[in-house]
Structure formats: structure tokens, C-alpha cells
Symmetry: C2
Subunit: 380 residues, 2 copies
Amino acid sequence: MSLVLETPVDGPARTLRLPAPLRLDSGQSLEGVEIAYCTYGTLNATRSNAILICHALTGDQFVASTNPSTGRPGWWPAMVGPGKPLDPDRYFIICANILGGCMGSTGPGATDPKTGAPYGLSFPVITIADMARAQAELVTALGIDSLFLVVGGSMGGMIALEWVKCFPERMFACALIATAARHSAQNIAFHEVGRQAIMADPDWRGGDYAKLGVRPEKGLAVARMAAHITYLSEQALQRKFGRELQSKALSFGFDADFQVESYLRHQGQAFVDRFDANSYLYITRAMDYFDLAQSHDGRLADALTAAQDVRFCVLSFTSDWLYPTTESRRIVRALNAAGAQASFVEIRSDKGHDAFLLDEPVMREVLDGFLASAAKARGL
Amino acid sequence: MSLVLETPVDGPARTLRLPAPLRLDSGQSLEGVEIAYCTYGTLNATRSNAILICHALTGDQFVASTNPSTGRPGWWPAMVGPGKPLDPDRYFIICANILGGCMGSTGPGATDPKTGAPYGLSFPVITIADMARAQAELVTALGIDSLFLVVGGSMGGMIALEWVKCFPERMFACALIATAARHSAQNIAFHEVGRQAIMADPDWRGGDYAKLGVRPEKGLAVARMAAHITYLSEQALQRKFGRELQSKALSFGFDADFQVESYLRHQGQAFVDRFDANSYLYITRAMDYFDLAQSHDGRLADALTAAQDVRFCVLSFTSDWLYPTTESRRIVRALNAAGAQASFVEIRSDKGHDAFLLDEPVMREVLDGFLASAAKARGL
């Protein structure tokens, strides 16, 4: 593909339409793929200061600007912004809604050009590598051969790992935060609960709800509630809510007596307002399929050999039970075996998996140091 | 109440109808309560060898005999039987379906004598203490003043703790296995997900499904799937299933590709065949309400002061993240502060919460030793 966009400018979200069909891991091709993205900062003359931020399962391209659909500010304020580690005054920052998403990039809610109706379940099952390939097309279209950094937390880290595997020559550094190189049985199990909750909702209509003007809101809310528990540590839930009641006494009924119940219900409801149920099915499926070493008979180091010239920073959080430190250590061991430079820090936090989205001073400091060193080596 | 049943005999399940209304913690009374129970072994002449086994959330009275509705053998074969710690050749063993249950004891699926229709949501919200009080009526009716042992795992341990609080003079010893003296925020959160899944099912019909001849099967299956994950450790899931596929390759669809998905779906479906959705709502609610120290401003030792003459054995499992060892230690510390004898063992196991249902040799040995010592002290 040779499409190169005009010199990118900072501003509202834009959309790239891929000029050629996107070949998928499933063997299928997807035509007319659109990738919705935001950029922040200015690409330098040598096009060497670009950073790609990969978002998590329910994230989006609005990493540092207001999400127009929710009106909420960017989702990573602690990390992206002037004076922050990912500084648009210094770097050209790209964040794209993933393939399969529902914030403007092509996903199951998009219109199938063959039928003129929403894809629904006729959308092909995609993989994390497919998401990375779609991003690579965007990076190419932006005129960037080599990214200074690919960074992601949670599923974003998985996408970054696929970049490492598929496009190691197109990246200088990589930061992997609260992530894993494969989905565990427990990870798959929680996602399967969510998918079953969605598909149990009669308004899901076999995935055709968009054509029929309904939405499987209850099922999607239950899916979000179950997932949300895994994003927090037991300690964080206990500290935030404990057994605190909504009112003074137990109701002896089934309303939300406990604050934690009310909080979870709110999380479920707020999610329904901003997310598409079929996207949730497809993205969780892609995550469950993710196992970077699978193509190398389980030998993760072999999957990473081409990455020996990339500099890595791997971060985990002590209370993250979704992608625990053991998974980060496995990545670091494989990187070491592959001959790559990898620094690893396990950050003490009781906030669970979602700590990566919060302002964790150690995370900021470690990434600041890592980026300073990498920028110097890159001549930035 | 003065009803005393004829000399109990070993045999199939029987049912006791309480002669007087049962006063509940909610302030309501429940008339015509029936308690379905099984007994094993023979009550001795001094009526001093009776053991009450309290079952867990989805357990039943068929602890050591075939469940007639499922055709499956008793649920605690490792612990109950000739030559096992809870030996019917030596003890008179009682196990009753809890109040609120769906295996014969009065619950939301029972007929409301006032209307002639199933209670549904007009059944009063009950507590763990209400369950213990109903059991105490049964024990009285069986002519037993003082139980040799009250034993329970998981929710069964919570019922046993309410026995300790409400009827310490009616028990000689108590074994608390894989349990807690209160439900944590995370415990409540998982239960709330299950309840929301059930109530989101349109066939739940506001709890009136039984009157309408339908059942919220999909919602109940999702609730069970979510709960089932919490019964196993991450390690157990990984060892049992890992990322093993059902067939040779990924399907690139939404069928159960992974064995863990198929296993969870099966758990959900099998549960629907044997359990009532409203019972699930009521029992999980009772568990969430459970906080033994709440009546004593959070001072657990104060709630247990009357138990200083009861001998305790407290067991936890290293990989149980539903009711982790910290909760057992909290109970032990409170028992020590209350002046009660308490032995405590944390058993090394990677099987998670459900280890208490399995044949864990250390659990067997510890309970054997505890019971031998207690039996000697009791003069059995």
C-alpha cells in the first residue's frame, strides 16, 4: 500500500480508509476497512518521534482528548500530555480505535459493503495480530517507517507484542504494561461468561440486533459487571466499598443494599451506553485466541527472536490478578533469551489490573527514565 | 416447640414440618416451614453422638446418599462414610436442606399457604442465622439437646458460625472449613453479577416464572458459570484446561473452541437442571448479608464470647481466593480472644475453594485427629 496521508495535524479524530483489502489470520479478507484515530503533537522532520499507543479492550482512540460520545476526558491523563511521559510537545502520538471496535473503526457494527446492512455475526473473527496489521497500515499511511515507541497496557500490550513479532524492524522501543503473552484458562473463562451473558439476552437476536433496532443491554451490562470485578483487586474493592450500605439498614430485598452492588450496576449501565455488544464478543474472542508463542510450539523466545534490537520496558502490578506478574516475568525471560534489552519493574500497588490506567508515580518515573534513555539512543 | 420425632432411622430423605411459625431476622414469620433432611447412623442412648453437617450454597441434604433428582452419589464422599472422619458407624449424622433451598425444604419455590401458589419474590429474605434456627428446630425435633459437632464448608461454615453465636450451649465441637465470618466486597460483587444475570433473563418474570411455567435457564447458567470460576484456583484451571482446544484448530467462530469454555457451559447447564433460580437469589442474598460481627460493632471476638467452651477446628486452603486464609485467621484470632480452644491448619492445595469437597488427605487427617480428641473428651 502506498497511500500517504497529508502531513498530520493535531486535532479531532480522523478516519483512514485502507485502499486495499486487509488479509486476516482467519484466511478471510476485509474490504473497505476504516481506522478511526487521533494524533497529538507534531511529527518531526526525520519522522522519528512517532509513538503508537494501543488501547485496551474497551478503550478507544481518545487517549488524550475528550471522547465525543461520552463527553469524558482522554483515558490516560496520567501518562499522556505536556510534561507527562508521553508528551505531545516532544513526540507525535498516534492512537487508533482497534479493528473490531465500535468507536469509528470497522467492526461488527459497521456496514457490510456487500449487503448495505450491519455485519453482525457475518463479520469475520479477528485476531490481535489483525489489529496490529491494521495499525501498521495506518502508520504507513501517516508516512512513518519506524515508530519510536509502541506502548500498550492490558490488551494494548498484547497488540504491542504482535507488533514486536510482526514488525520488529518498524519499532525502536516497546513498553508492555499489565499484560501477558497469552490468555490463560481463567482469562478465557471470564470472557466466556461475558459472551454467554450477551448471547443469552433475547435482544441479541443472533447478533442481528442492529438491523432490528434493539440492543442486548442487560446481557452486555452483566458481561461488564463480571469483567469489572477482574479489573480491581480484592483489597481495592474492600477498601473502596467493604460492606458499606447504600442506606442505613439492610432492605431485606433485592435492591442494591451494598455500595459495591450499586457501583457494579452503574459500571454495567454506563458501559452499555458507550459500547457495542458484538464488538465485545469479537474483541474478547481475539484476546482469548491470543498466544504469541503458539506459532512456535509454545517457545515464546523463538517468537521474539527478531526483536533483539528493540528496547523493552515491562511493567506489572503486584495486585493485578488478571494479568499477574508471573505473565510479565515470562515475557521478560523470553526477551532475555531472545537477546533483547528488557527492563522489568513490578510496581507495588493494591489497585489491581486497572492500576495501569491510574496515576501510579512509579509507573510514570520508570517510563520517564526508559523513554529518556531510548530517546537519547534514537537521537531525539 | 416440643415436637420430638420418633427414634430416627437411617434411610431415605424425610421432611419435618415445624409446628410453629419460624421467626426471621427480617421481622417476618414463616408458617408451615418444612425441612427436608437425611440421617445416617444411629443416635446413641445418651443422645450425645449427633453431628450436624451444614451444606454449601448449592449443596443439599444428600451428603452420603444418592441424590434422587440427579442420581449422583452423596456430595462429600471423602469425609462421610464408614472409616471416614464423619463415620455413621460411630456417629448419628444429620444433614438438612437449608431454609430457602430447593431440595425439599421451604424456599421461594414452595407453595405459599396463603395463596396456594409458589412464593416467588413474596418469600421473605432470609439470613444465615435463619437457616441455623430452622436447623435447630430440626435438631430439637430429633430429640437432641446437644450436638457433638457442627461442621460445614463454605456457606456451611457460615451456618456453623451462626450456631456458635446463637446456640453455643447446644454444641460440643465445631469444624469450620474454607469459610469466612463475613462476605467481602468481592464476594458480594460476584453474587450480584449472578443475581443480575438471573433477573436479566426475561423468563425470570419478576420471580413469577414458576406460576407461568417457564424457567430463567440462561440467566441461571450464566450465574453459575461466573460463580464456578471463583470455586477453582487459577492454577487448577490452567492445569486442567490451559489453552487446550476442543478440536484440532481454532474455529474462528463463537462455538466453544477451548475446553475451558465447554467445561463452563456444561457446569452452567448441569446446574440449571438441578437448581432453582429464585433459591439462588435468596441464598446468595443471605450470604451477602452475613457478617457475624455486625451485631457487635465489628468486634468478632465479642460475637463469639459465649463459645468459649466449644472446641474448634478451622481449615483453609492456600489457593482458595473466594474465602482466603486471611478470613480463617480472622476467625481463629477472634476465637482465641474469646477464650475458645481453636486449632487451625492452612492446607497446601492448588485446587482452590472447591478443595474442601475433594479428597484432601491433610483435611481428612486433621479432622480425624480433631474428632478423636473431641470424642474422647465427650466420652464417646
